[in-house]
Amino acid sequence: MIREFTSTEVLFIVAAIRWTLILSAIAFLGGAIGGLIIALSRTSRKKSLRRIAAGFIQVFQGTPLLMQLFLVYFGLAVVGLPINPLVAAAVALTLHASAYLGEIWRGAIEAVPQGQSEASTALALSYRDRMQHVILPQALRLAIAPTVGFLVQLIKGTSLASIIGFTELTRAGQIINNATFKPFLVFGTVAALYFILCWPLSLLARRMETRMRRAITR
């Protein structure tokens, strides 16, 4: 029995956006914490920390997100945990976001002039004070545009969670497509919904970037 593609089906797809948003939010928050740790390690004075962080970034930026998802998904069984698509997707996307945000924020931290760091040391500020009150606030200003840009990439990345069976926007589209067999319409709708989520963020990122460039070249 083939169902029609009616408002009920559209609503089912639209309602699945919340899972895309929840997954994106978890990965972004987790990635923000992980990314800060990676960025601080990457710019640390300890060589071993810098090496570990660089390796982490290289591994996660040098392998497909799809493979990372599969590895975490099947890895849960290896460490004896029950297999759960939401947990697997959240963990994999968090690690992925940590690597990318870590690399973006490392760049921002390194872009703060060296003199700022030296001045803080000369004022006898501790590492914590120096980072918290001098370096990071200035780095934040530089980091915000590329961070919003990465958020777009992350939202798009959550679509791969459908492959390990988590029902978010893409998987909702597949389910409706299997019932109605209107792929052109269904995937067109899903694409439009992603576009509505991502495009404003892309525009925002671009506007912030132009404003930042103007502020720097002034």
Partner: protein, 222 residues
Amino acid sequence: MYQFNFQPVFDSLDLLAYGAWLTVKLSLMAMVLGFGVSVLGAVGKTSGIKPLRWLIDIYVEVIRNTPFLIQIFFIYFGLPAVGLSMSPNSAALLALVINVGAYGTEIIRSGIESIPKGQIEAGRALGLNPVQIFRYVVIRPALRNIYPSLTSQFIYLMLTSSVVSVISANDLASAGADLNARTFASFEIYLTLTVIYFLLALAFSTAFGMIRRVFFSYPASR
């Protein structure tokens, strides 16, 4: 305690090596064709013909703000509904070319815009024709300026190409999925795949570095 079993992987190394070769082939084709699309897109966008610019803008924004997975579903499942059906492999290549073309268009456009107007005028003053100006004064230095962004986009494309396994196009991830369906050594198989993808990314990165030294190290080397 989980018992690791890499035997199925060792038994099928030839299969995985062949899969890796398919991924390299698919990525290389998508890079070459995608590069062509990118140059055309960038030229169109900087041409000053307004309707053309709008069309390219729509293409770039739509592709960059929707997931690759949806793009490939749309091409493979959606297009046959309007009479355009193709094999999984063709759909995979088409989707990758369209995808990387959008990112490449933006990257190369920024490269073209980084060329100072005075250089083009100097080229004209030297009596170069428009084709020569485009080739020697605009595109070559433009490519040199954006080479790192473009090649990291290409490596990202190679990694993204693993997604084509969802429509069973032939590649490394599909080879792994087949092996997984037969042996169920899932973690071991995907760990191996991840390592192979990592090595492929390193290989591409090294190759791009060598190409850079050959084509873009002027004028220092001459």
